[in-house]
């Protein structure tokens, strides 16, 4: 640490795990208390959210600078079938055997702020296995690796902006933000819109998770209605007979809104 660190900030060591869940809950409640949804709804997470200890030294302290999107920012990278493999949207068939856990289908549409489908764009997901373990060397918590599950998927949205993944419901897992910290079960999503400013990485959660109130990453979105947008909906019409339970999750990308340019 150097003299740049704010002396008033809580311990910044992400591995310190020193605070109790009760102390984190108190911090979360105090910030929520100060939030007034009527003045300016906060639909994005606060970058500076002390209950999430890793944010302390990693949030910008200066206001974002307004810029008009120029040239390359007006267009997303352009994705297509060349970017993905044929079987990458089914995370249950990437190995020789079936992964352990509850097989699920997650489907939804990617839309822009005007409700237009985001067509033919890359959607990437990654997640823990049913036991809450990532295939990642730095994830060393004592839950089993599933040799038949890597937890990585990709697809391209169709002409209606729809994506579909078949996967395994991830388990919750411990992390070192504070003592006895557990993340709600979630799937990481990476999305691109039709211009660079729409880039989004987020997490999809499952309905009714008892860990929501205890999780500083989920709670960093102060507006409860906005926060709920990260929770998928169970849908029995997506559920498949003797095969998989089904969830719907739609995603809305917004960024800058440049005047439409002449297409080359």
């Amino acid at each position: 640490m150097t003299e740049n660190q704010q002396p008033s900030a809580p311990a910044a060591d992400p591995d310190s795990a020193s605070a109790s869940q009760a102390a984190i809950n108190t911090e979360i409640a105090a910030i929520a208390e100060g939030y007034d949804p009527d003045t300016a709804p906060e639909t994005q997470p606060r970058l500076d959210y002390a209950p999430y200890r890793s944010s302390l030294l990693r949030h910008p302290t200066k206001a974002l600078q307004h810029a008009d999107p120029e040239t390359i920012e007006l267009y997303t990278p352009v994705f297509g079938q060349r970017d993905i493999g044929a079987a990458e949207s089914d995370l249950t068939i990437q190995a020789s055997g079936q992964p352990v856990g509850e097989r699920i289908v997650v489907t939804g549409r990617v839309l822009d702020g005007d409700g237009r489908p985001v067509r033919h764009q890359l959607v990437e997901i990654w997640q823990a296995n049913a036991a809450g373990r990532y295939i990642h060397l730095r994830d060393q918590h004592p839950a089993p690796i599933d040799p038949n599950f890597t937890g990585v998927g990709r697809t391209i949205t169709d002409g209606d902006g729809r994506y579909t993944f078949t996967t395994i419901k991830p388990g919750p897992y411990p992390w070192k933000n504070h003592h006895n910290a557990w993340r709600p079960a979630h799937i990481h999503f990476s999305l691109f819109g039709t211009d660079f400013t729409q880039r989004l990485v987020t997490q999809m959660y499952f309905p009714g998770d008892p860990l929501f109130a205890l999780d500083p990453i989920y709670q960093s979105i102060l507006d409860p209605v906005a926060r709920d947008r990260l929770v998928a909906t169970y849908n029995h019409d997506v559920t498949q007979h003797e095969w998989a339970t089904g969830y719907n999750w739609d995603i809305v990308l917004t960024g800058g809104h440049p005047t439409p340019m002449e297409e080359n």
């Binding site: 994005q44 990693r58 910008p60 307004h66 999107p69 352009v78 994705f79 990260l230 809305v252």
Partner: protein, 185 residues
């Protein structure tokens, strides 16, 4: 017009390394390309320490100032310049792309790389620009750069080294990089 509310972002977390980086993601052109340069730098936190778990993406025009619109930005066939790159920082917080200098997309425009920053501890991606080194006159003539105070402006301008360009990213602190918002997000 009824606007749909946006889906909130969340942190990329620490465990993206096996999912998002991909073979060739750091190489927009082969190192043998006659105009190949290195664009590299280090991502720092507010204590001035390098961050070992950040992911950087760039999107850029070609040397001739053409914005690539080739489907398959993520794929690498060794021939097609897609203008898109993605790379994770190493344990020392350092990232490196092999690419070419973007040309001005219109007469007099100051060329830049569009840059996206993800990291554990960063709850929503940050967007910024890495401008090519340019003289004070050129910076003053650019409508966006000239809107920034001199010391803040310099955080967006890469510096030349023997291999190409260095663009360090400071998430916080005295040298905090200027991060951007566009429109009404």
């Amino acid at each position: 017009m009824s606007k749909l509310p946006p889906t909130p972002g969340q942190t990329v977390g620490p465990f993206f390394g096996y999912a998002l980086p991909y073979d060739g993601g750091a190489d927009l052109v082969p190192t043998s390309h006659p105009s190949a340069i290195r664009l590299h730098g280090t991502v720092y936190d507010g204590a001035g320490d390098p961050i070992p778990d950040a992911l950087i993406e760039i999107w850029q025009a070609s040397e001739n100032g053409v914005v690539p619109r080739v489907p398959g930005s993520r794929s690498r066939d060794g021939w097609t310049f897609t203008g898109f790159g993605r790379v994770a920082v190493g344990p020392d917080g350092h990232y490196s792309f092999t690419t070419v200098r973007p040309g001005p997309t219109e007469e007099g425009a100051a060329p830049f790389f569009a840059v996206t920053v993800f990291a554990r501890g960063l709850l929503h991606r940050l967007l910024t620009r890495a401008y090519l080194p340019l003289g004070a006159d050129a910076a003053a003539a650019d409508p966006f750069l000239s809107s920034l105070p001199q010391d803040r402006r310099e955080t967006l301008i890469a510096r030349a080294d023997e291999q190409g360009l260095v663009f360090d990213i400071h998430l916080q602190g005295d040298d905090e990089t200027v991060f951007l918002s566009y429109g009404d997000e």
